[in-house]
């Protein structure tokens, strides 16, 4: 039984860069369940597997002497299987059919390269000569003549997509070092041929493509360890122009050689518009080659994650429905993945301040590794089933049944609880989370939160505020794990939860950060006073309204106050127009200040935040700027320019936000009269500080002496004082 596999492996090697074509083709599910896969082996067999059970459901073989020449596909509309053997013979059968010999047979006039089955579009047959027919058209007259579109070229890769109601077939060909791309719409019988821009000393190894907005994005993995992107517009076929072949220019998307480590890619799959998976081997000097599967973020050019495959692979990688299929060692390995919405903060962006507790990273491999299933090649069909392998299969099956209640429970439980009462839901979810930490605990909690937020969205009266707070506070969640949570909290005006999320989530999109800022600034102080928020970041520096001003003397350590006053006196600003500037009290209440501090603390990227900040209403922008100004003054009062307290904003954060806000709201600030004074004060303050520090430098020596003499201050020889120790 090992023989076919070996043959297969040889096959794969001989075929070199041919990717998902002929050797093996897992295909999309024909039946009811989503986790079915149809495997075609180079040879005579096609097997239908249920992935979660790791067991075959059915197997079909062609007669001895015949050979399957392209992957078996399933027609989604009719639930029939379509196979081609000996290049020209088409077979169509149903699930119930056992014997392929008795199945429908049609002999075609040309060699088939591949059949692509599209949901809603029906199967499309691509011939070696480049001709394309839908199956319907082909079956009307199987012997019809198929035109030769290509001459002397060999098809290297093909892919099919739906564009609107139209199936689109794309294939690449090679001839004498030149590569061509063909885009065909069989229903409109339109054909476009392009030539790929040549790359010196490198040629394409693997292709993958996806369609977005009328544009085909073709990704090509080149032998120089780079991925290039080629954009092909899907033209509206209004007029038939026979022009000379267009040359497609390509742009570099990724390069896998970092310093001395090089990823030699063999296979490439596009996962979504921002992610690609590359299977290849990692070569570094003085190190062994290691084969690994990597996921790259093309937007930020970062390696999202990687997984080593120590047993070696065939170099081929397929991907359907968020599952990778690859040959790892001698078995077909299925790996599930999930691509999170990417934000730069998560990729490289500004990390949280070190004060916040370490946030555990959410690498999907950890959570999904347990779900990695191995589908063995053994199928029931095999006549010469060896006892050994049978035992193997059985033992594997038994472990699966043991694990099943564990792994299935989360999804099922959440499904079951969909209609349960609120109380039952919360108690069940608590129980679920209370289980001992398993590797996929994070994912589970993410599901739990999603379940809760879904319910909140369905039922506007339902909002488990404390429960959500508890989850966010005690679990290391991230925004990506529960993307709806903050939106729901914003909707419900749950300021405390938003504060916690801002403080804890490492990957909040700038849009949400802005929404929080706007919500915080828009809240009325009287409303906020009744809300419980964590004031830790504020209490150490904010002036709670206090009768005696003595508290303040303690913090005027560097004595710039005098210099400031003088500066202020020189300018004649009418007093009544600046009701706040003469008393430098905080322009917002402690609750609002704490919430704003949470925003100051969150990670962001200026480029992405700036467009949102431009939308901030003028009044709120000025209030925010006043608060930032207040913080800045407070910071400057301290010799070390740091505010005391836990999670209080740093001077850098304050300055960054101030600059950002001024950038975003520049025109507003220039226009508004009340902003004018704020800005001029700000300007004066900064100027005064610059001057003050330069003066300080000059009199450094004298100051040292003064500090020494400071001890001469009047000393009461005897006094009775009141000392309060709290």
């Amino acid at each position: 039984w090992d023989a076919p596999r070996e043959r297969w492996a040889q096959c794969g090697m001989q075929r070199g860069h041919l990717s998902e074509g002929t050797a093996l083709g897992p295909d999309c599910p024909p039946g009811p369940g989503p986790d079915l896969v149809l495997l075609t082996e180079r040879g005579r067999d096609a097997t239908l597997f249920k992935i979660s059970d790791q067991k075959p459901l059915g197997c079909w073989s062609v007669k001895h002497g015949q050979i399957l020449t392209c992957p078996v596909v399933c027609n989604f509309e009719t639930h029939e299987y379509i196979a081609v053997h000996d290049d020209k013979v088409l077979r169509i059968w149903k699930n119930e059919d056992i014997n392929l010999d008795k199945a429908f047979k049609a002999t075609l006039s040309a060699d088939v390269y591949r059949i692509h089955s599209l949901p809603q579009g029906g199967p499309v047959v691509l011939f070696r000569g480049g001709g394309v027919r839908t199956l319907d058209v082909l079956l009307e007259a199987p012997q019809q003549e198929i035109e030769n579109v290509i001459s002397g070229e060999v098809i290297r890769w093909s892919g099919a997509f739906m564009e609107g109601q139209q199936p689109v077939l794309i294939f690449t060909t090679e001839k004498d070092e030149d590569f061509f791309v063909y885009v065909q719409k069989p229903k409109l019988s339109s054909l476009h041929k392009y030539k790929l821009e040549q790359q010196e000393s490198a040629k394409p190894v693997c292709f993958t493509a996806h369609i977005t907005n009328q544009t085909v994005t073709l990704l090509c993995l080149y032998s120089n360890d780079s991925v290039y992107q080629v954009l092909i517009p899907l033209q509206q076929d209004t007029e038939e122009e026979e022009e000379e072949e267009e040359i497609l220019s390509k742009s570099l998307l990724l390069n896998f050689s970092a310093s001395e480590t090089v990823l030699k890619g063999t296979s490439l799959v596009a996962l979504d518009k921002d992610h690609v998976a590359v299977l290849g081997s990692l070569t570094a000097p003085r190190k062994e080659r290691r084969e690994c599967l990597t996921i790259w973020n093309t937007k930020f050019h970062t390696l999202q994650t990687s997984k080593e495959l120590p047993l070696g692979t065939s170099g081929q990688l397929w991907c359907y429905e968020e599952k990778f299929f690859l040959i790892h060692g001698k078995v077909l390995t299925v790996i599930m993945y999930k691509c999170e919405t990417s934000s730069l903060a998560a990729a490289v962006g500004k990390l949280k301040c070190s004060q916040t507790p370490d946030v555990s990273s959410f690498v999907n491999w950890n959570t999904l590794e347990d779900e990695e299933l191995e589908v063995s090649f053994q199928s029931q069909e095999s006549v010469a089933l060896q006892a050994e392998s049978r035992m193997n299969l059985r033992s594997r099956r038994s472990t699966v049944t043991e694990q099943q209640p564990e792994t299935l429970s989360i999804g099922q439980l959440l499904l079951n609880l969909k209609d349960a009462s609120n109380y039952v839901l919360e108690t069940k979810l608590r129980k679920l989370m209370a289980k001992a930490p398993t590797p996929d605990l994070q994912a589970t909690i993410g599901c739990v939160v999603t379940a809760l937020t879904d319910r909140c969205k369905r039922n506007p009266k339902y909002y488990p505020q404390l429960f959500l707070q508890e989850i966010v506070e005690t679990r290391n969640l991230s925004y990506s794990l529960c993307p709806d949570l903050m939106a729901v909290a914003l909707d419900k005006k749950d300021m405390h939860l938003l504060q916690i999320c801002l403080e804890r989530f490492p990957d909040i999109p700038e849009e949400i950060t802005y929404a929080c800022l706007k919500a915080f600034l828009g809240m009325s102080e009287s409303h906020l006073q009744n809300i419980d928020v964590n004031l830790d970041s504020v209490i150490c520096y904010i002036d709670v309204e206090f009768d005696n001003k003595e508290v303040k003397t303690e913090i005027a350590e560097n004595g710039f106050g005098a210099a400031m006053d003088q500066d202020m006196c020189g300018t004649k600003i009418p007093k009544q127009s600046q009701p706040w500037s003469d008393d430098d009290s905080c322009p917002v209440g402690p609750q609002k200040a704490a919430l704003l501090n949470a925003v100051l603390h969150s990670a962001y990227t200026e480029t992405f935040l700036l467009p949102h900040l431009k939308n901030l209403p003028a009044g709120q922008a000025i209030l925010f700027l006043r608060y930032l100004y207040y913080l800045y003054v407070k910071c400057s009062e301290k010799v070390n320019t740091t505010l005391p307290g836990i999670r209080s904003p740093t001077i850098n954060q304050i300055m960054d936000w101030m600059c950002l806000l001024l950038d975003a709201q520049f025109t507003v600030m220039v226009m508004l009269p009340e902003a004018k004074e704020l800005l001029s004060n700000l300007h004066k303050f900064v100027r005064a500080q610059v001057r003050f520090y330069s003066e300080l430098n000059k009199i450094e020596g004298s100051l040292r002496e003064l500090q020494r003499l400071n001890h001469l201050r009047e000393s009461h020889t005897y006094s009775i004082e009141v000392l309060e120790i709290i």
């Binding site: 004060q355 004031l535 209490i539 150490c540 002036d543 709670v544 206090f546 003595e550 508290v551 303690e554 005391p644 307290g645 836990i646 020596g701 004298s702 002496e705 001890h711 001469l712 000393s715 009461h716 005897y718 006094s719 009775i720 004082e721 009141v722 000392l723 309060e724 120790i725 709290i726």
Partner: protein
């Protein structure tokens, strides 16, 4: 300064006052410095075997040259520091000068040699100290020579004493400062030991308080002062200064006779007994306050103590006096009315001890006494039967203060590394609170302080409170509150005061620290809501210092 022969078999035949001396490490010879010369004396015979004139090489030496400090190295080299600011190296057997370094234009006053004899620290009268190191002339060569390497200026006045530890240079000056300067090349890592330390006040109690009588006894070098505290009838808010209805009263000044400094002193809790000890004698006085008049009467026939007391402590009910003495012993005296004293017992650790006791703590119920000796062992004695009760588990650090809780009889111990331990005397083990503190660890800011706790007292009305102080802060340690972790603010009192009452609760932690009074010499609790604090402004005694030798002042 001075050094007098203490009557051994080594008689000094010739005139010439000995100003300094040093033993050969093997104990065979003594070198003694005088004015213009030094002598080497053979210990076995008592004979002067060499006499070397130190100003021999100075032409027209008009002034006399005082040898202020001297050291005899194991190689036989004599190192002398003299009033000409020179450090000289002599081969005493040949009587020749090997090397001479003029380190200062003013006198070199003190000298210390490292244990390896490869480094010397010299203190001068300008307040500067210099390090000399024995270094090879050529890299990797055999021939070595003394080189003056590092000058330091940490003092404003005479550096009268220096010491050389393996990792630091220690100097003490007339400016009342003790400076520890770590040798950075000997430091493995940054840390507590790698920082320059300056100490102005001795780490021992100089003030004692008669709680019941509301008296304070201040110990000065040559005299004692007894004061009655003033009082007020007002109350007020935090920070207010209240007007006095009775002024503090200086009751008596007690001058010690002779040149000896007072080593320790104590006033009894009832305020009627005062005891003090000098290097050689112990004195006990009876104080009587009759209306405005104060009478002081010396207690006659005080038992003779040899050697003298290192620490004095009256019992809580003022009927006995504990005297810390040499070799780990504590003498218990019974105080007799109207003014007498008798030796009752001498407590000694069962295993013996070579070091003197330097700290004492009696329990309020008169049952227990804790004594700390120089080997850092804490022995606890049962005073009812005068028996050794137990020993606190050894901890490799000096004890800086200790006290016994009045209601629980828990012994609270502060170590010089800022650790705080609580040991239950009845149960002979650390309390669970103490274990919790140890397992959790104290706040980093607490551990990084460089001034040790010098006094511990308790609040009788709130058993959970422990009051501690060092030179820069006083702290009410509330055992009922959670310990702060490193992320919270340790000194949070000013923060708390700005918060409304309701918001304070979340921020409270066990260490309630007040830094208002600095430098803090003494703190004690008189009653439930009355705390006495003694500050000693540094300027008070800086202004009393004589002018420094050199006054180079630029600008101002």
């Amino acid at each position: 300064m001075g050094c007098e022969p203490t009557g051994s078999h080594t008689e000094l035949p010739s005139p010439g006052r000995v100003l300094c001396l040093s033993w050969h490490p093997s104990g065979t010879h003594i070198v003694a410095g005088s004015i213009d010369f030094f002598r080497v004396i053979d210990v076995a015979s008592g004979q002067t075997v060499q006499r070397i004139m130190v100003n021999h090489h100075v032409e027209k030496a008009k002034r006399e040259c005082v040898v202020w400090a001297i050291a005899l190295l194991s190689s036989g080299t004599v190192v002398s520091a003299d009033s000409f600011g020179r450090v000289q190296f002599w081969d005493w057997e040949l009587g020749t000068l090997a090397e001479s370094h003029t380190v200062s234009t003013s006198a070199a006053l003190s000298l210390a040699v490292s244990e390896k004899e490869d480094s010397i620290i010299v203190g001068t009268s300008t307040g500067a100290t210099y390090q000399l190191q024995l270094l090879p002339v050529n890299l990797g060569g055999q021939e070595k020579r003394w080189v003056r390497t590092k000058p330091f200026q940490f003092h404003s006045h005479d550096v009268r004493a220096v010491a050389h530890s393996p990792t630091a240079l220690i100097s003490g000056g007339l400016d009342a400062q003790l400076v520890i300067r770590p040798l950075m090349e000997k430091m493995q890592k940054k840390g507590y030991d790698a920082v320059l330390r300056k100490f102005t006040f001795p780490h021992r109690r100089l003030v004692s308080c008669a709680r019941k009588a509301r008296l304070l006894l201040f110990q000065f070098s040559q005299y004692l002062e007894l004061w009655r505290l003033g009082s007020t009838e007002e109350t007020g808010k935090d920070g207010e200064v209240l007007s006095l209805c009775r002024m503090p009263e200086h009751l008596v000044q007690l001058k010690s006779k002779g040149p000896e400094h007072i080593y320790c002193s104590c006033v009894s809790p009832c305020g009627t007994w005062i005891g003090y000890s000098t290097a050689s004698r112990f004195h006990l006085y009876r104080v009587r306050c009759d209306g405005d008049g104060v009478s002081l009467r010396k207690v006659p026939k005080v038992p003779k103590l040899l050697p003298p007391a290192y620490q004095l402590q009256f019992s809580a009910n003022s009927d006995s006096l504990f005297v810390a003495s040499a070799r780990g012993s504590v003498h218990v005296f019974q105080l007799l009315e109207p003014g007498g004293c008798k030796h009752l017992h001498t407590l000694q650790p069962p295993s013996g001890c070579s070091e003197a006791v330097y700290l004492l703590a009696p329990s309020a119920d008169g049952h227990w006494l804790a004594a700390v000796s120089g080997d850092w062992a804490i022995h606890i004695y049962n005073l009812k039967c005068f028996k050794h009760h137990c020993m606190v588990p050894a901890y490799n650090c000096a004890v800086s203060a200790l006290a016994i809780h009045p209601s629980t009889n828990n012994l609270v111990i502060a170590y010089s590394d800022q650790q705080l331990l609580e040991f239950s005397i009845p149960e002979k083990q650390y309390t669970s609170w103490s274990r919790a503190v140890q397992s959790r660890g104290l706040h980093r800011a607490w551990l990084e302080r460089d001034s040790p706790i010098t006094h511990i007292t308790f609040n009788p009305k709130n058993p959970a409170h422990i009051l501690l102080h060092d030179t820069y802060l006083l702290c009410v340690l509330d055992k009922s509150l959670p310990l702060p972790d490193d992320s919270t603010l340790l000194m949070n009192q000013s923060t708390l005061k700005q918060l409304p009452e309701t918001a304070r609760k979340r921020q409270l932690h066990a260490f309630k620290i007040c830094k208002k009074f600095q430098p803090l010499l003494f703190m004690d609790l008189l009653d439930e809501n009355c705390l006495v604090v003694v500050e000693r402004p540094i300027m008070d005694f800086k202004t009393q210092l004589p002018l420094p030798v050199q006054q180079k002042k630029f600008g101002t």
